[in-house]
Amino acid sequence: MIKDHQTAVLEVDRLVTEFPTPKGTIRAVNDVSFQLHQGETLALVGESGCGKSVTALSIMGLLAHPGRISSGTIRYGKDDLLGYSTSQMRKIRGNKISMIFQEPMTSLNPVFRIKDQMMEVILEHQDLSSKAAFDRAVELLGMVGIPSPEKRIMDFPHHLSGGMRQRVMIAMALTSPDPGILIADEPTTALDVTIQAQILQLIRKLQEKNGMSLLLITHDMGVVAKMADRVAVMYAGKKIEEADVIECFENPCHPYTRGLLNSIPSNKKYKGANRLEAIQGFVPNLLELGKGCPFTNRCTVAMDICQAAFPSQAQIIEGHHVCCHAVNPTDADKGGRP
């Protein structure tokens, strides 16, 4: 299949997700918009707690109590997923939009055999006999590189290693003959480097094979560089920059994105250096955010305006957007979107 980077299969628009807590309401996702195109890989990066997982769960409609989507739309094809009924949503999940999670060790149900867990999805979404479903499950396990799948399928999850479990998770996410979207939430962070490389390679191969779109959530710029077509950078619940992957690495516009790249020790520029260019300060508490740009307190180019208002989105080149007063000093006057 070909990548069609023009058709948006998923369109998140001005999504706001909140968690009311005793100490106040946390806006985990604050006015985030992005599009995922047919067949492409969009990487969502950002520091821990910036709202990546919550964004993904919002899309799947799987927010944990007490989380709620307070505004925005999530368009899948022509429909707004937020308007879907539970049963409509169920038809999408695991079928059109699948998700795999960070912790392969705990993401499989310990009391069911792999067989049952795999066949369950197949039978749920496809009109197959259980024999056919079983065969399909074995086939899928083979496809994700599990040796002697017909034997392994009878195992319980605890019989498998972490890497194998993650493969099972991937196989389970790809049961549909026509998987539309795969959301992978830090699929390799819990794994060893060598295993991580295997899994990433596997995902890439599968994506090439069946042309699905991948929303890859990660905090590892290395993974982004290796996997992504486009990158959206989040900071404290806000999307602050979005660009084509090469553009993002070569011409990062937001001071945070630049800092992030500079913080990586394997950055070529550190050959022989003995200091990193680190971002100073710490990620702000989501409860104590003001109206302004959340990065202000760590920013080297902060201005007065940064305290007062969150910058609107500016376009650098086609497909490269950034939200920063320093990049787009005039937009405060316009008082809205460019």
């Binding site: 109590h65 169920r90 699948s98 998700m99 999670f101 499989l108 009391v111 069911f112 749920e124 605890h158």
Partner: protein, 337 residues
Amino acid sequence: MIKYITKRLILLIPTLFGVVTIVFFMMSLAPGDPARLALGAHATPEAVEAMRHELGLDRPLHIQYLNYLKQVAVFDFGKSIKTGEPVLYELLSRFPATIELSVVSIIISTILGILAGIISATRQNSMIDFGAMFAALVGVSMPVFWLALILIMVFSVGLNLFPTGGRINIRLFMDPLTQFYLLDAIVYIFREGDFSYFLSALKHIILPAVALATIPLAVIARVTRSSMLEVVRQDYIRTARAKGLSERTVIYKHALRNALLPVITIIGIEFGYNLAGAVLTEEIFSWPGIGRWLYSAVTARDIPAVQGGVILIAVVFVLVNLAVDIFYAYINPKIRY
């Protein structure tokens, strides 16, 4: 599996040895002279003296202990001072009554408790949840003996729905084959088509079983609920939802299977407590079981009976818990063997 069970049984030996030792020395410390008790109110001092000799109470304590160990090793727990019967026989003859009562009450509490727990968990923070959990908390806070009295006051005296005590209407002259009256009464249904035996046995067991079921019911409901809530938070439940399964399947298949694992342990423990700790309930409902027997042995200071009874009950209790452990291991795929 056999190997595991054997190993667990072997591991029991030190515990049981400890039990026997503790019980023996505790009871030797107890005031009250078994010889005196054996002879009754106005026994002459000479007769008491002779009796002490006969019972071996005039020998040094460590000799008594060694003798006792020797006896216990061959399941000889001595004879009850009060009745002169072997303690083991006395206990076993009361055991069916207690088992029947415990089983009925644990069935009641398991069914209702799990149901209440699931309903509460699936409607977390709703009025139903709040109400059920408050009720469960009241249940665990309930002085059982008081509840028993209130049950009698309301259902037996006030509404005259149930008898006040006993196991069956005595005038029916039922022939107990198994000593489990409900089962025996079923025989009458098949043999003679006579339901009155069964109904009577049922009517007799309901109030005590309900009283005895309160705490296990409340505990099971609470454990089921919290276990369920815990499980629902797990990653694999999120996975199940992400697969597009219906909420029903997610809860009743994926969550419940996992959530019930700890509940089984609790049911076992509560069953063990019921078997051994139904003293108050049996006392109030004149239920001829081991709790009541042991209590009267304690108050009468029938020392061999108390020693033997406590040891045997501890053994039963430990074995029930062991059985539950083994069952748990057996049904839990997370444990390999």
